[in-house]
Symmetry: C2
Subunit: 265 residues, 2 copies
Amino acid sequence: MAAWARAVRGLLLDVSGVLYDSGGDGGVPIAGSVEAVRRIKASGLKLRFCTNETQATREKFVKKLQGMGFDISVAEVIAPAPAACHILKERGLRPHLLVHDDLVPEFAEIDKANPNCVVIGDAAANFTYANLNEAFRVLIGMEKPVLLSLGRGRYYKETDGLKLDVGAYMKALEYACDVQAEVVGKPAKKFFESALAEMGVLPHEAIMIGDDIVNDVGGAQQCGMRALQVRTGKYRPCDENHPDVKPDAYVNNLAEAVDIILQQM
Amino acid sequence: MAAWARAVRGLLLDVSGVLYDSGGDGGVPIAGSVEAVRRIKASGLKLRFCTNETQATREKFVKKLQGMGFDISVAEVIAPAPAACHILKERGLRPHLLVHDDLVPEFAEIDKANPNCVVIGDAAANFTYANLNEAFRVLIGMEKPVLLSLGRGRYYKETDGLKLDVGAYMKALEYACDVQAEVVGKPAKKFFESALAEMGVLPHEAIMIGDDIVNDVGGAQQCGMRALQVRTGKYRPCDENHPDVKPDAYVNNLAEAVDIILQQM
């Protein structure tokens, strides 16, 4: 019946728009998602939460989700900031940070003196004219500018309206310095691969479930994974006519996806 | 001797970096430039000043140059804001402005109610997180977003350091809204053509003199004009190895260019 649901050993879940809808300071669980996560865990399937969230540390993020009733721990969360820290250490990079205040603790153990790269995240209110000029000057002052971007989202919605996401500011710095940013987070292949490695699951054994047609679905498929788009969160009907990306299936929400997958086991 | 200087009927001069060096609130004339402008006028050559300046009205800009001793009038200045106003009127566009406070009077006669396009200039300190989000929301709310950008510069230098120019913010909005901005100002072909039309001079009869290898030299050459790069202003020795653009000649400064051109008349 649902060929896409066969022979699954691991699931990757996007968080915002799949588990909960964000808004204001908190968020509201999407109907059925709390129970769906519990059922995945009870099934024995491997599970990771794969988010591009960069406005808070994983600790704070997980606490928020636990507060909504989700069975989730920090060790199960794949997020851009820790992935960036891994790259920084590996390559001896010392970042100038243009990120949200609440994300800074993720970089506590990283040497930030005399920076030789810039890390940009969704800095929100920290995207001031002065901070952008400063990050630009650090970059343009390098012989070979290195720019790491925690995601490449265009925009997102908050209760008080749409906001430009990190991708827009990344493009501004890319253009000004004539460099190409290295994107850490979805849809970067390495990011998905690190999640698969942690689970000990091969790409063809895993399914990504997300609301973002490009960053979740397209990114996971590029890695050889199957990918579903939920019709919650930032999903829009026009996504179903996307010129480049076609999900392996659409589901109304996470609960429906889990129903189908567990039936096939 | 200087084949590039023959059969000239009109000159287009870039202003910042050719006539004067900007810095702080004022600027300093480049040696020989005040006299060079006088000699051009005395020669009977047609002349226009072709600038991407968008931090002040032409009136204010011209007053500053007159204060430095330049023989220049508002009617001789080709600048992006008036060119944008022309487009706005022609196409019935009502702009949401993201520009420098001092530029706003240039749009005094333009209907700005219920905007159906965004005009972005070098807004400098007006490039706040809130203002960028607001311009973005106006754009993304349109069925077919229209973005006019007053130039596409990457960055410029002020006494307190390098600053991101309008092009960087233009790229941010382009990416977020998946649109392509229409650039008004150099290097847009229409911009140079309007200057030629005002002078009543054909492209092959005109020479552009500027310090910007891409926006001045490349732009003018694309219109069929000859173009010189001065070794003043933002000129850097590495410009002489530019992969795409090769000026018809290099001159040390405006005075030298005018010497050679007038000798050929």
